[in-house]
């Protein structure tokens, strides 16, 4: 009987020009959303490996409880893919409502995978009142995630940027270009490394190098096929073949993750590390996990920047509460807190010109972190290449070096 009704419903929906089934369930007004959100418990699945981020999420929980009566639970993940596979399992079991995840910290390939598999709720960002403050033109990565248009299926909450952290006590003048890094490694073998290739920072290390070595960086914004990749990435592999034996442990062993690499820098096993957090050095000093002598540099020709997002699974049990949290993350109060150098220190996704003078002052009065670069020194961000580049880099690396 159900199967007979469904086509009818489908036809009716099209005829009436109604939006898709999931969106229709929500209250039409933001007030209605807030009302239904009150008292809901939102399960935010987010990587739990970064202490400043965990502390920030705990603060967000306290604030949304006070301002909107929403209970926020941080479900700490080892890998974002855990949450993705949980949604897959729920879909496989036919639980299309009342899912166990309400909000996911996500971006890049995980977003693309979930979007392509139809696992996300949306579009929803147009419903968030504070989304209007987002700097979608000055910071295009807030609406284009790894060249994939977000189309309202995920909402930005902080900016990330590739930086290199180095120990100034041992290395007064760090190399500031990809060829210079190789020259430096030749003179100082074993003093630099990157996380293993399947960790996103490992592939990021090579992706950043490719940006500088490829003849035409414009090619990076489009998907790449196997033949083109072999041709276009050849300079990268020439560079890496020379660098690899001069990496830490002769390039035969790699740290498991970014934080594992940070421990190597802290103990003086390496002198330079790559990071996606522009505030890594300052936060590390403040927490005592990096020595006070660490500083930050970026490459002269620029580094890749991207954005962290939150998305809502298609079967989330508390969509209204998730929307309220996603909106709170975009408030000037929350964004200024996220940018504080003694907390996370991530640059804001907002366009400061659109804020009231009072709200703008929250950002202008933020202290400058001791080891954090000013926005001018950081320069403009390079856009992320299309995900196919990352996938091909990983596959090619494994083909060449995994035995």
């Amino acid at each position: 009987m159900r199967s007979r009704i469904r086509p009818l419903l489908f036809a009716a929906t099209i005829l009436a020009g109604l939006p898709a089934a999931h969106a229709r369930e929500l209250p039409p007004t933001w007030e209605g959303v807030r009302e239904r959100a009150r008292g809901q418990t939102v399960y935010w699945n987010a990587w739990g490996g970064d202490e400043p981020t965990n502390a920030f999420i705990a603060w967000v929980g306290r604030r949304v409880k006070e301002t909107a009566g929403v209970n926020l639970v941080h479900v700490k993940l080892t890998l974002t893919a855990e949450a993705v596979s949980r949604v897959v399992a729920e879909k496989a079991a036919g639980r299309h409502e009342g899912g166990s995840i309400d909000l996911i910290w996500i971006n890049g390939e995980n977003f693309l995978a979930m979007k392509e598999q139809g696992l996300l709720f949306g579009p929803f960002t147009h419903r968030l009142p504070h989304f209007a403050l987002v700097d979608t033109t000055g910071k295009p990565s807030t609406v284009v995630d790894f060249t994939v248009p977000t189309e309202g299926y995920e909402s930005p909450w902080r900016m990330a940027r590739i930086v290199y952290v180095y120990d100034a006590a041992r290395l007064p003048r760090p190399p500031r270009s990809i060829p210079a890094i190789l020259a430096w490694a030749k003179a100082n073998p074993g003093r630099i490394t990157h996380p293993r290739i399947r960790n996103f920072l490992g592939s990021t290390f090579l992706k950043q190098a490719l940006y500088e070595l490829i003849a035409d960086p414009g090619r990076l914004t489009a998907p790449v096929g196997a033949e083109d990749f072999a041709l276009l990435s050849a300079p990268l592999w020439r560079w890496y073949e020379e660098l690899k034996p001069r990496l830490w442990r002769r390039g035969e062993q790699f740290p498991e993750s970014g934080p594992a690499m940070r421990a190597l820098l802290a103990d003086g096993e390496i002198d330079i590390m790559i990071s996606f957090n522009p505030n890594e050095a300052t936060a590390g000093i403040a927490r005592g996990v990096l020595p006070p002598s660490v500083r930050t540099f970026v490459l002269e020709r620029g580094t890749i920047g991207n954005t962290s997002f939150v998305a809502i699974p298609y079967n989330a049990a508390h969509k209204e509460g998730a929307l309220v949290v996603a909106d709170f993350l975009l408030t000037p109060e929350s964004q200024a807190r996220a940018m504080h150098p003694e907390g996370m220190g991530n640059p804001t996704v907002l366009d400061l010109r659109r804020l009231s003078p009072e709200d703008r002052r929250r950002f202008e009065t933020l202290p400058q972190g001791v080891a954090t670069l000013s926005p001018e020194a950081l320069g403009r961000a390079l856009p992320e290449p299309h995900p196919s580049w990352m996938n091909r880099i990983v596959a090619e690396w494994e083909r060449r070096y995994s035995r």
Binding site: V73, L79, V84, Q117, R196, R198
Partner: protein, 580 residues
């Protein structure tokens, strides 16, 4: 053989009918989820998983899996480390018994067992890496004074390509576990009497061990040895911390595939999981064949007039050192973890932290409470239910003999032999479909899958070795099987019962993947928090959670030991029996 001397009509009949339900119930409880999990994984291995667009059966997942770069090195590494770890732990434990039985060192090890067993293996592995890494505590203590190292040396001391550090990490847990099973297995073997008999016949105690006692002992710890072999071949968390990273052991490779951002890799991962299952089965088969070979060689040795045995003191020194090393490394590792949890910062080559703080503990202590409660409640219930089931099954065996259902009880060990991630990802779908994921039922049920086999393993031998004449006498004195069971059989075996409860609790507290899948983020334990936070690689936070994670099982073990050695309890039971 099992019939009592005095016929007890009514009581025996009533008791046996009830008991007959146990093996069947246990099998049902286990086979359904395991079979469902394996079925889902098996289907995915052949390309069927509609949620990810796999709607047709094909061999493509296998082709994709076998074309993975580095796969043969991965398998080689797995087999090498798995067999070496199992062989070494078994060899050390048997050698220890043969050379040091009833010495002071043996007694010391017996006391060390509880803390060593309760230290979670992930925490033990983390502690080991904090100790032996190039920038680890040992290196810090010796540098730069003795070594001249201003910076950590460029040596692969952990994650070494051969897998030595992984093997050592496995021994840290496997030697204590096998030793624990051996202590229990030795009890019913009359070691002293048999050695005395051999001596009277003119043989050395060494020969008595090798030819008379070891075969008896080995027969009793065979299943635990298989469990150790399977564990060595499929462990994930210890391998992530200590094994080579590129290529990693098969278990880590599968874990990475299952959790890769590319969802399509679930298909080759499922195919790989089936391969790992086959590999584990083949390894156990090979081990069995080798057992026959060893038995044959020993027999020839006997006919040739006995083995030229090494002098006992020297061999004893070697085995004693080999058995104490894990204890020393675990203790050193735990101490390093404890130091880290109070350090504000601690950089190489400072021998101790220069800045101390309580800030980490005060920041994390409130967040420890909820997972600590979940760990305790789940462990207590899983171990309790597991113990009841095991007692029921074993008592059924004693009263009714080994029924067909009882003879298939070995199937309960499947959760220990199947690679966890493979069967759990299938089980997760089942839990979601039943709508019970994230509930206590799902959590305790999935913990039971792993805790029960260990409870059964540690209880079965002492229970089966129980002198039936006690029961016969008790039945005649108390007049009821229920009273015989509660007042005589249970109290006499209470040490084994309490210990198996503690083992079950420790196994439950140790569960990572099953908690992750069944808890659905709603229920979380100290182990899950510890592993998750350790991905942040902050040794201070890792230290706090690892210590908290070890504290609960440790407490339960000490309580079990304290209750198990209470004399008065035993005596009062005797009185009650006499009066009853």
């Amino acid at each position: 053989m099992g019939t009592p001397l005095l016929p007890l009509k009514s009581g025996r009949e009533a008791g046996s009918g009830f008991l007959r339900l146990f093996p069947a119930t246990a099998l049902l409880l286990f086979l359904v989820p395991v079979a469902a999990g394996l079925a889902a994984t098996g289907l995915a291995a052949f390309g069927f998983l509609p949620a990810l667009g796999g709607t047709a059966l094909s061999l493509a997942p296998f082709r994709e899996f076998f074309s993975l770069p580095g796969l043969s090195s991965s398998i080689g590494l797995t087999l090498r480390t798995g067999f070496l770890a199992a062989l070494l732990s078994l060899g050390i434990v048997l050698g220890l018994c043969g050379t040091l039985y009833e010495t002071r060192l043996f007694a010391l090890l017996r006391r060390l067992i509880a803390p060593l067993l309760s230290l979670p293996h992930a925490a033990a592995a983390i502690g080991l890496s904090f100790l032996i890494a190039p920038s680890g505590w040992l290196s810090r203590l010796l540098s730069p004074g003795l070594t001249g190292w201003q910076r950590p040396p460029d040596l692969a001391l952990v994650h070494d390509p051969f897998g030595l550090s992984l093997i050592v990490g496995l021994l840290l847990k496997e030697i204590p576990y096998l030793l624990f099973m051996t202590f229990a297995a030795l009890e019913p073997i009359r070691v002293r009497e048999q050695i005395a008999a051999c001596r009277a016949l003119g043989h050395s105690p060494g020969a008595a061990w090798l030819h008379i006692l070891l075969p008896q002992l080995y027969a009793r710890i065979r299943l635990p040895v298989y469990a150790v072999l399977a564990f060595s071949l499929s462990v994930v968390d210890v391998a992530v911390i200590l094994a080579p990273t590129d290529p990693p052991p098969l278990s880590v490779l599968l874990y990475r595939l299952f959790t890769d951002r590319d969802l399509g890799l679930v298909f080759p991962a499922a195919a790989g999981a089936l391969l790992q299952l086959a590999l584990t089965a083949a390894a156990i088969g090979l081990w069995r064949i080798a057992e026959h070979g060893v038995r044959w060689a020993l027999r020839r040795l006997v006919r040739a007039g006995g083995a030229p045995l090494p002098r006992r003191p020297r061999a004893g020194f070697f085995f004693g050192a080999a058995a104490l090393l894990p204890a020393a490394l675990s203790l050193g590792g735990a101490l390093a973890l404890a130091l880290w949890s109070f350090a504000r910062s601690w950089f190489f080559p400072q021998p101790l932290p220069v800045d101390w703080t309580l800030a980490h503990w005060s920041r994390h202590a409130p967040e420890l409470l909820r997972p600590a409660w979940t760990t305790f409640a789940a462990g207590f219930l899983a171990a309790g239910i597991g113990l009841l089931l095991a007692l029921g099954c074993l008592q059924n065996e004693r009263v009714n003999g080994r029924s067909p259902a009882a003879r298939t009880l070995w199937l309960l060990y499947t959760p220990l032999l199947v690679p966890q991630i493979a069967f759990l990802s299938g089980l997760q779908i089942l839990l979601v479909r039943l709508g019970i994921d994230g509930t206590w039922t799902a959590l305790i049920g999935s913990h039971l899958l792993f805790a029960f086999p260990y409870i059964f393993l540690s209880l079965a031998d002492p229970w089966r070795a129980f002198d039936r004449r006690y029961r016969t006498v008790a039945l005649s004195l108390t007049g009821s099987p229920r009273r015989s069971f509660l007042r005589v059989e249970l109290p006499l075996l209470r040490r084994a019962v309490l210990f198996s409860f503690a083992v079950g609790f420790a196994v439950s507290a140790n569960q990572y993947l099953s908690t992750l899948f069944a808890g659905a983020g709603r229920l979380t334990t100290l182990t899950v928090e510890a592993v998750t936070l350790s991905s942040g690689n902050d040794p201070r936070v890792t230290g706090i959670y690892a210590l908290a994670q070890a504290a609960l099982p440790l407490g339960v073990f000490f309580t079990a030991v304290a209750l198990g050695t209470r004399r008065r309890f035993c005596e009062s039971t005797h009185h009650r029996v006499n009066r009853g």
